[in-house]
């Protein structure tokens, strides 16, 4: 591989490919030293610009690091290929509190409030978390603003955004990698309105848990029936169109419960019932990602407990079903010696 070396002090051509002296072709620059012939991480591609002049573009081939904002599914695969990663799909309508949930989890981790159970062990999307919390940190008024975090906009509208958080369980030393989706509310809305969009959610078949975030106050407002119906349809889409396994932990997260005095809204029961009918085994969690009354309801209430529903679940190791298709000449009792049941011990 060749490398471009420049004698001019502070010239960044090696990093950017752009000559500080503004020569279109680096070779024409008087400070250009030519190929050093060293093994380095630069490769020069020469491309023809529209006017026919050539422009050299440097492309750094050294190890690329994640941008730190969010990960796509292929970035996620790089983490998942190394260690088991708990993948949590978070869905919900616009303004339900999905991003607040994720941001609150990060805040808890950053402030050490996951202790004594868990230690924060890193994140590949630190900048993404920080960006999401920007609005919150700027607020100076005594009461919480209407909007705490910016509404999610995906860098690639066709691909889900994933946020990464690594934890360490203090008691066992177990490393826990979390990947949580941060999808715009529009995705859930489109899934409700058009079942064909279910293919976009294929990645949820890998989910270790699904969180359906439901705006708590909306379950008691004038339009509660509409919100309940939307949640039910969303569950039906997950069951029938995305075909999520029924045994995957489903958490119905009621958000903004500080505004409800932590009282479970009536409307959640209908949603829970529908989830049960569809074959899921839902858990209802009352949460307050960022509380307007922190003295009465702590920030982050219910968040860690929801995550633990996923990371601490040991699916039952079901008994072996060993039925063969081999026909024997006769059914010998020796081959069918019965299994001892607990009742036979007496």
């Amino acid at each position: 591989m060749s490398v471009t070396v420049c004698n001019k002090a502070d010239c960044t051509v090696a990093e950017t490919g752009t000559c500080l002296e503004l020569y279109k072709s680096i070779i024409e620059c008087p400070f250009y030293k030519g190929d050093a012939g060293k093994q380095d991480t630069f490769v020069h591609d020469t491309i023809e610009a529209n006017e026919g002049s050539s422009q050299t573009v440097g492309r750094n081939l050294s190890r690329t690091f994640h941008s730190g904002y969010e990960l796509g599914t292929q970035d996620a695969a790089e983490i998942m290929r190394a260690n088991y990663t708990h993948f949590i799909g978070i869905l919900g309508l616009y303004n339900a509190g999905k991003t607040c949930l994720i941001s609150s989890l990060y805040s808890l981790a950053a402030k050490g409030e996951l202790l004594p159970k868990y230690l924060f062990a890193g994140s590949l999307t630190l900048q993404g978390f920080e960006n999401r919390l920007r609005l919150l940190r700027r607020w100076r008024r005594p009461s919480l603003p209407e909007q705490l975090v910016e509404h999610t906009r995906l860098l690639d509208p066709r691909s889900p955004a994933l946020m990464h958080l690594a934890l360490k369980e203090v008691s066992s030393g177990r490393d826990i990698n979390l990947l949580v989706t941060d999808l715009p509310g529009e995705w859930s809305k489109e899934l409700i309105e058009r079942e064909e969009t279910a293919t976009r959610f294929e990645f949820l078949k890998r989910a270790d848990g699904i969180f359906l975030v439901i705006d708590g106050p909306s379950l008691e407002g004038r339009h509660r029936h509409s919100h309940i119906q939307c949640s039910r349809i969303l569950l039906e889409r997950l069951a029938d169109n995305v075909c999520i396994e029924k045994s995957v932990p489903l958490v119905l997260l009621v958000s903004k419960c500080d505004l409800l005095g932590m009282k479970q809204p009536e409307g959640i029961r209908a949603i829970e019932a529908r989830a049960n009918e569809l074959g899921f085994n839902p858990t209802v969690m009352m949460t307050a990602a960022f509380s307007g009354k922190p003295a009465a309801v702590k920030n982050g209430t219910g968040i860690l407990e929801s995550i633990e529903k996923v990371i601490n679940l040991t699916p039952p190791f079901s008994k072996l079903q060993c039925k063969t298709n081999i026909r024997t000449n006769m059914q010998r009792s020796f081959h069918n010696f019965p299994e001892l049941s607990r009742g036979s011990e007496n």
């Binding site: 290929r81 890998r206 270790d208």
Partner: protein
């Protein structure tokens, strides 16, 4: 098996592409061919160890990792070389390879199939408490496949056929032609008789053992032994009586024999520490295989032979201390495991069967 490759690859990639699935399929086929070409079972044992326990059985320098990495990189050069970056994916590929081996119905891989299946079953305590959903699902499917394979093969072996002697004697006029026709038919009939006889002998010996309710090893009724010693004896003695592969009924017999002798203890959960603390020193050698090679495998793969590993450790170090830390470092799950005593007896049985498959007897 390779048909499950897409589902199992989702453990490491939420959206595996067709191209990726094809590449892994090719790589896994290469790994299997490499293993079947080996003269011994070392690589196969390492493969099962990697599938069942991942990072505790795989290391950057291990021959299996080298083989697996080479196979994967042959079809996908842009695959990380460091185990720290690819461990779970290599583990998943190993699991698919094991599953494919277990489910292949070829005569030439029969011994590999039996050994792989028995190792998957004997390593059960290593993964039963995993909190990783899809990994556990994969191992559970592997476990079920292994059981199914052994059961099917066992039933085929124990199929009763009528012994017939029906040589084609029409048109034979001289003694030499008669001998040429009759001898193979006689030989086949005698082989059939021998086979049937061994099946009868197996049933009779096992039934007598069950009826006697006594340990042949310790020459004592089972109900007069300590419950933990009885669990060890039941598992080992029944495993030694079985023809290979064993039928699943044997596990129920182990359970029944122990429960009848020690009904108070059979269903109570016992930790591994308590179980082994109570074992008589004389019994350790029962669960240690007879050949040095097999002993090496037991020593190197506690994930596959947890109780055998412990017996070997107690026997060689003449000490019962310090094993918890060592086992925790090697397996991370087994140190605190607690199971009913019946299940531990079945675990002894499973390990002894795996050892016999390894030794070829």
């Amino acid at each position: 098996m390779l048909t499950k490759l897409y589902e199992w690859l989702r453990i490491v990639n939420p959206k595996p592409t067709d191209e990726m699935v094809e590449k892994r399929k090719a790589a896994i086929t290469d790994i299997i061919s490499h293993i079947l070409a080996q003269k011994d079972f070392s690589l196969l044992i390492a493969l099962v160890g990697a599938a069942v326990h991942g990072n505790h059985a795989l290391s950057q320098e291990s021959p299996l990792f080298t083989v697996a990495l080479e196979a994967i990189k042959k079809y996908q050069p842009a695959f990380p070389e460091a185990l720290s970056e690819n461990m779970l994916e290599v583990r998943t590929c190993c699991a698919v390879a094991v599953s494919e081996l277990v489910n292949r119905n070829e005569a030439k891989s029969h011994k590999h199939r039996m050994l792989a299946s028995s190792l998957v079953i004997s390593s059960h305590p290593s993964y039963v408490t995993l909190k990783q959903r899809y990994l556990l699902q994969m191992l559970q499917e592997l476990h079920n496949s292994a059981h199914s394979m052994l059961e099917t093969t066992a039933m085929v072996r124990r199929r009763r056929t009528s012994v017939s002697l029906d040589p084609k004697l029409e048109g034979i006029t001289d003694v030499q032609s008669l001998a040429v026709t009759l001898v193979p038919a006689l030989k086949k009939a005698l082989d059939d008789l021998q086979r049937q006889s061994s099946l009868e002998r197996e049933e009779i010996e096992v039934l007598w053992w069950m009826f006697a309710r006594s340990s042949k090893t310790l020459q004592s009724p089972l109900n007069e032994l300590d419950a933990f010693d009885a669990a060890l004896c039941c598992g080992i003695e029944l495993a030694n009586l079985s023809l290979l592969p064993p039928i699943s009924s044997y596990r129920n017999m182990v359970s029944r024999a122990l429960s009848e002798a020690h009904s108070d203890h059979a269903f109570k959960a016992v930790s591994l520490s308590k179980l082994t603390a109570k074992w008589d020193d004389k019994l350790f050698s029962l669960l240690i295989p007879s050949t040095p090679d097999a002993q090496d495998h037991v020593r190197n793969y506690p994930q596959l032979f947890p109780l055998s590993w412990l017996c070997h450790r107690f026997e060689s170090s003449k000490s019962r201390s310090g094993w918890e830390e060592e086992l925790k470092n090697k397996t991370s799950t087994l140190g605190t495991l607690s199971m009913p005593l019946n299940d531990w007896a079945i675990q002894v049985y499973n390990e002894r069967i795996a050892q016999r498959c390894l030794l070829g007897n």
